[in-house]
Amino acid sequence: MHAAPQGRKERNCLPHTWPVLLALLLPGPVVGAEPAGTLDRLAEALDGKLAAAVKGSQVARAPGTAPRLAPKDLVLALRHGPAVSTELTRVVRGLLVGRLTARGLRVASIPAEGSWERRRRQASAGGFELLLDLELVVALGHLHLRGTLQATDRQLWRDTIQPERGALHHLHTHVRIDAEVRGYQGSTGSGGLSFSPRSYPLGREPVLGLAVGDLDGDGRSEVVVLEERRVRIMRFRSRREGFEAALAEDLTPPWAGLQPRRAFGSVLLLDINHDGRDDLMLRTSAMERGAVYALESSAPPVRSAGPRLRRRSDLPGYPLAAWRKRRKVEQLSCQSMAGQDLYDTATLAGALAGVLPGGGAQQLPPAFYTLVAMDLARKKERHRYLGVVDEKGKLQLFVDGKAPAALVMDRVGLALDAVDLDDDGALELVTTAAGDPGTGQDQITVHRLERGTNVPRMLWRSGHLEGIVTALAHGDVDGDGKLELLGAVFDGKGRAQLLLLN
């Protein structure tokens, strides 16, 4: 250890920022498996690399001293290598800036022109502490980001002859990240969607259904997680901390005498009795009949031990869809095929008019795994969508009860969701990707149905998830006014995870 000169100590106040900077750069808690193979994965890998790079440069902060962050902490210079389009570079740059900004860093991007020394001087003059100088290369479907992360305050004499370990100006590290890119669909500009998936552990029971709604009427959404014999209510805390369990309640007998080999179930949230709180409609294959539950206490379930789910009434079938039409609630329910994990189309009951083709179920497959219905209204237009995944894994979508189906996709997995994510009046259909069977590595895809033509266009596809997607739902989980997608993933090791895409 050598003592730093007094003058330098005053001048070099930057190391004090390192603990905070480190905390910001360090990746959040890695919970479960993260999807791989997307641009976001690339950004996340970069995030991790940066954290590892600065880890050795940590300097103990004097107790009581407040961290001082410069107005701009990091400047990013991203050059594109040969055969890389400016559009792709722009997308990657946007993702990287977004990712690092989400960490709390103030990130700016500068044109990657001229020499490195010129960019360093430019960054230093702007008051930036770090320069992340990267080159983007695409080779055989893989993205490679490589370059250096260096402090802008570098002096040849000081840093090579008398280096001060741990100081910011000593930092000079190489950064290289490679990622396989399969989901890149081109521009994510106007009309595009992009998600940043993150997973949180849920336990060892497969999730049969997910729903998002306000059960306690406090204006914040809860997530309902349905398992074979248990229902859980969870509330979002933060992207880093994930979800906290607000309530877990075992379902009650009578149990079904005839149960399928694969458990399944459905759950819906809708304010049936107009009391300002959503009611919980659910049924699993273990239950003899479905049930409507309500949260008993008006207190927030998170901080109170009191609230319990109260069974208000029975449901004859599995609740598949429900929506409100003026003051009236319309529901669609169904029974299952005996001893099978399939719904029996012949038993579909409820608000069928205007949803099912021809007002009846004749044109639907005789049995199906999943059904989703949505009533979408915008301005003077009102459309009703019905999607079913039949026993052969084929998804059919009917718009306003008209046949033929607007969308037919083969090899769709178990989960399905329909939502207008960006509130533009066009339906987004969230499915698990079609492809090779039996691999147990699902992907989540988002298709948009073009308004008027009902032609589907894939907007986004996740990386390969380490498991199967058993349920999908949407809702404003974090209270930011935008809809998030939620997925339940069950991996080969018997672990369930909740995937948040926002």
């Binding site: 399969r182 005498g257 997995g413 079609a434 090779d436 147990g440």
Partner: protein, 498 residues
């Protein structure tokens, strides 16, 4: 050049976008699987089922009160939840599921379950429930009275022999249907599959659509018994058979379709039963001479297509806790010396071997193809120590009848485990060689482990040769094929991938 690489990059990206992605699809219902049986079943009465093929069929035809899950732990199956156990641990009360349907469409009652278990107690496999004093039906509940507190009861109740079967009157003669179809069985179960036909060449099962634990994914399973491994392999290679016991060991070429393997643990005992009819054969030194005279290391490779181990006891090492038993080494000189000593003590042996060789017959099951090969090796090995064997091949039923009555000199037999627990496996061997009382004492005392096995090794009329299992090659398009319990295949969850 730049233009070319840009195009290449775009092509790469496009290929990456359209390449098929992995996705989970739910298991579809339907389809037929044709699979081999390790031997020919002789009965479908669960209380008498002891052969590998019989246990496999019992698992599919009959439901048990408990079943073993994927991790090998017993979980309630025919009963709803955990039992109510009395304070002294000697009375278990179990609530039967209300909607269990038999294959004939009738609901299963607790009285029928109690009758089935009580019938087992009086049968050859009764050792499994030796700890049970009585089974009574009380409404839709089963009350099991025990002789002592027995925590192992759920394991015992998960044995295939404990499958609940209801006897039905035999169909009158002349109504058996087409030629070749013998009968539809005298036993009705509630298992995931029901009997369709039992032919001389195999057994066909069809899905029980109202099975309480869910309809099986497959519509039908056709079990076939092959006389030669080559015939089985050829069928597997051309795709008419979806599973093979010999596929991974004797392939001359690859099958037309991709395949995977399932490798159960070596738990089935292959043993040499020794008659007690002749006094010198009841002598422990005679059995020891046989043990020393047989190259069991080589035999193990012949007897199994999967895992194998030389037997140090009638129970495999996996099921014996803290065993200190050591394998008797292969020593032909020692075996000859032992037989010489024996001849000096037993005049009968000297008389029987007056021609210079002791002539004995070896009873072999004709339907077990591996045993034919093992028998050949035994003939060669024992010939070197002066024992001339004549192979006596019998069909499954005759073989079982003679094994039970002890009408043989030497018998080459197999003993699969009903329950993967040491005491039950040991008792199973005792029962198989006619020591039923000892088997029941072993189970009822609850002290039947490695020490007991060592002691029994001295007295049992059995020469344990090897523990084996069959490595199963199967069509890779079959999902969820895995072994359960004592190395049996769980077909109920098997499905054809899309």
């Amino acid at each position: 050049m730049y233009r070319f690489s840009r195009q290449l990059c775009l092509v790469g990206l496009v290929l990456a976008l359209v390449s098929p992605a992995g996705a989970y699809l739910p298991a579809p219902y339907g389809g037929v699987v044709t699979a081999p049986l390790p031997d020919m079943p002789a009965t479908l009465d669960p209380t008498r089922m002891a052969r590998e093929s019989e246990l496999q069929l019992a698992l599919l035809l009959y439901d048990t009160v408990y079943r073993l899950d994927a991790s090998g732990r017993p979980v309630p199956h025919l009963v709803e939840s955990a039992p109510q156990v009395s304070q002294d641990g000697k009375s278990w009360r179990l609530r039967l599921r209300s909607t269990v349907m038999l294959h004939n469409g009738q609901p299963l009652t607790a009285a029928q379950v109690a009758a089935s278990l009580n019938r087992l107690r009086g049968s050859a496999a009764g050792y499994l429930l030796a700890v049970v004093r009585e089974v009574i039906a009380d409404g839709n509940q089963l009350v099991i009275q025990l002789r002592r507190p027995a925590r192992e009861l759920p394991w015992l109740l998960s044995a295939p022999a404990c499958g609940v079967a209801i006897p039905v009157p035999r169909a009158p003669a002349g109504r058996s249907g087409r030629a070749g179809i013998q009968h539809r069985g005298r036993w009705i179960g509630s298992g995931p599959f029901r009997l369709k036909v039992w032919k001389p060449t195999g057994v066909d099962l069809v899905a029980h659509r109202t099975h309480f634990a869910g309809r099986p994914y497959l519509d039908e399973i056709r079990f076939k018994v092959f006389e030669r491994p080559s015939a089985e392999v050829a069928s597997f290679q051309v795709g008419t058979l979806q599973l093979s016991f010999h596929g991974t060991s004797v392939f001359g070429s690859q099958p037309r379709h991709p395949f995977s393997t399932v490798d159960p643990p070596a738990m089935t005992l292959v043993y040499l039963g020794v008659s007690r009819a002749r006094p010198y054969m009841a002598d422990r030194r005679f059995r020891l001479a046989l043990l020393m005279g047989v190259d069991r290391g080589r035999l193990a490779r012949l007897a199994a297509t999967g895992r194998h181990e030389v037997a140090v006891a009638p129970v495999c090492r996996r099921l014996l806790i803290r065993t200190r038993l050591r394998a008797v080494p292969f020593d032909r000189g020692g075996a000859n010396r032992l037989l010489g000593q024996l001849a000096s003590h037993h005049g009968a042996l000297k008389r029987d071997a007056a021609s210079g060789r002791l002539k004995l017959s070896l009873l072999v099951d004709r339907s077990r193809v591996e045993d034919q090969i093992v028998a050949g090796q035994l003939v060669a090995d024992l010939d070197r120590i002066g024992i001339a064997l004549t192979i006596d091949r019998q069909g499954a039923k005759d073989f079982d009848a003679r094994l039970r009555s002890g009408r043989y000199d030497l018998v080459l037999a197999r003993q699969p485990v009903q329950v993967p627990r040491g005491s039950a496996a040991l008792a199973g061997v005792l029962a198989a060689v006619g020591q039923r009382t000892a088997a029941e004492r072993c189970m009822s005392s609850g002290r039947c482990g490695a020490a007991q096995a060592a002691r029994l090794m001295k007295d049992l009329p059995v020469v344990p040769l090897v523990h084996t299992s069959a490595r199963v090659a199967h069509d890779a398009r079959l999902g969820q094929l895995r072994w359960v319990g004592g190395g049996l295949l769980g077909y109920a969850d098997v499905y054809w991938m899309r």
